[in-house]
């Protein structure tokens, strides 16, 4: 039963965990993308 979502607590724990990871990834990727976008600007 490990890893299975049964309760609302399980659901929130699982989805929030993944959401925070996505947000951290986005915060790292945003400046990289911005640098890619503007690196050839004068």
């Amino acid at each position: 039963m490990e890893g299975q979502i049964v309760t609302l607590q399980d659901f929130m724990y699982s989805t929030k965990s993944i959401t925070y990871l996505v947000i951290v990834a986005a915060l790292i990727l945003f400046p990289i993308f911005w640098r890619f976008l503007t690196s050839r600007d004068e």
């Binding site: 959401t19 996505v22 947000i23 945003f30 993308f33 503007t38 050839r40």
Partner: protein, 390 residues
């Protein structure tokens, strides 16, 4: 054949005019059928599908693609990016025509045009999202009309009236941004009422945010797209300033669109994570969803970024067409394709050909009015009498 000649000696019987004339003729006949025979005479709308192509395309797509007005005027007058000034008038005109046609097309759906002011005077309904959308669209259409009038007043030579309206520019721009933020998001919020009807991949508590952010993308892309069409067909109407600033507008808006598309992609992924919808991605609907996200969000994001980085104006202009198509697909997915997804195919909504005819009719009216205004009024050039005012 003198009656088929224009004042400048050109013929009226061009392929474009003939096709436009045919669409207007057929559209007029369907209009009579609609207002004499009711919705059933010309549409496949039903109790299952009370909102069809006229809401999905004419309203949702129309409002999103008209977002260029508030995006461009905010960039120029609020953020002080004066190098985009030449793009403001074409963007305001496109937005004004877009909203005017949204209201015009709404009459086909709602019927009884004399009842259009009812939400304001008969049943206030201030807790209704539709009231909020109606109020904002009515107010913003008025704001856009006033923002557009300097061009018409210059054309008419009414200097005093023009100088009064021009003084209101900043106030109108702020109004425009506030009203657009409200109703662009509220259009998405309308679908929050149907969690069991809209497929989970498109349904999200973040729908208002998605609609607003994608409207900014639509606005930026539409300014580039419309600019490229204007360059092709109205090049002779453009003055030196407009021609000189055109590439800068395309590159700047392309860069902004790439960044906003990237942000839009991130919040779409966050939506998937919050609702734990990952498992739907392996279904048929998931493939269709990924087609929209990869083909019309990530791909234009990448192409815009490459175009802005390499200063490739042509690539950005082509990408704007892809991004505009993406907005059309997104709004149709939410309002028609992924809506009522659980119904058997016999109950699914497919637009009647006369509904498509009315949509073409509305778009054609927009193109013809745009062409008339651009060829007669100072939209793509500065009026010689007011050059020092710009």
């Amino acid at each position: 054949m003198s009656d088929t000649k224009t004042a400048t000696g050109g013929t009226l019987l061009t392929p474009f005019n003939m096709v436009a004339g045919l669409i207007l003729l057929v559209g007029s006949v369907i209009t009579v059928l609609r207002f004499t025979g009711g919705l059933g005479a010309v549409s496949n709308l039903s109790d299952y599908n009370p909102w069809g192509l006229w809401i999905g395309f004419d309203l949702l797509v129309g409002v999103a693609l008209a977002a260029g007005g508030f995006v461009t005027s905010a960039a120029c007058y609020i953020f002080g990016l004066k190098r985009y000034h030449s793009a403001v008038r074409p963007a305001i005109l496109t937005a004004f025509l877009g909203y005017a046609l949204v209201v015009f097309a709404l009459h086909y759906d709602v019927g009884r045009p004399w009842r259009l002011p009812y939400p304001f005077i008969v049943q206030p309904g201030t807790t209704s999202l539709l009231f909020e959308v109606g109020a904002c669209v009515a107010l913003y259409l008025t704001v856009l009309f006033i923002e557009y009038t300097p061009a018409a007043l210059e054309w008419l030579g009414l200097k005093r009236a023009r100088s009064i309206v021009v003084k209101l520019t900043l106030l109108l721009t702020i109004f425009g941004v506030v009203l657009s933020t409200l109703h662009q998001s509220s259009l998405g919020a309308l679908y929050l009422i149907a969690p069991s009807k809209l497929h989970p991949l498109w349904y999200s508590g973040y729908l208002p945010v998605y609609f607003f952010i994608s409207a900014i993308i639509a606005g930026l892309s539409m300014v580039i797209f419309e600019g490229s069409l204007a360059h092709k067909h109205f090049h002779d109407k453009m003055d030196e300033t407009h021609l000189a600033e055109a590439d800068g507008v395309t590159l700047g808006f392309g860069k902004a669109a790439a960044f906003v598309l990237f942000g839009y992609f991130v919040i779409k992924v966050i939506g998937l994570a919050v609702d734990n919808n990952w498992h739907y991605l392996t279904t048929g609907w998931g493939v269709w969803y990924l087609f929209e996200i990869v083909g019309f969000v990530l791909l234009p994001c990448y192409l815009y970024a490459i175009g802005a980085r390499d200063k490739n104006v042509k690539l950005i202009r082509r990408t704007s067409g892809l991004a505009v198509l993406g907005i059309v697909l997104n709004r149709l997915n939410i309002s028609l394709i992924a809506f009522n997804y659980h119904l058997p195919s016999s109950e699914r909504y497919v637009p009647h050909w006369m509904e498509i005819g009315i949509t073409l009719f509305v778009v054609t009216i927009g193109v013809l009015v745009y062409r008339f205004i651009v060829t007669h009024m100072p939209i793509l050039y500065e009026h010689p009498d007011f050059k020092e005012d710009h």
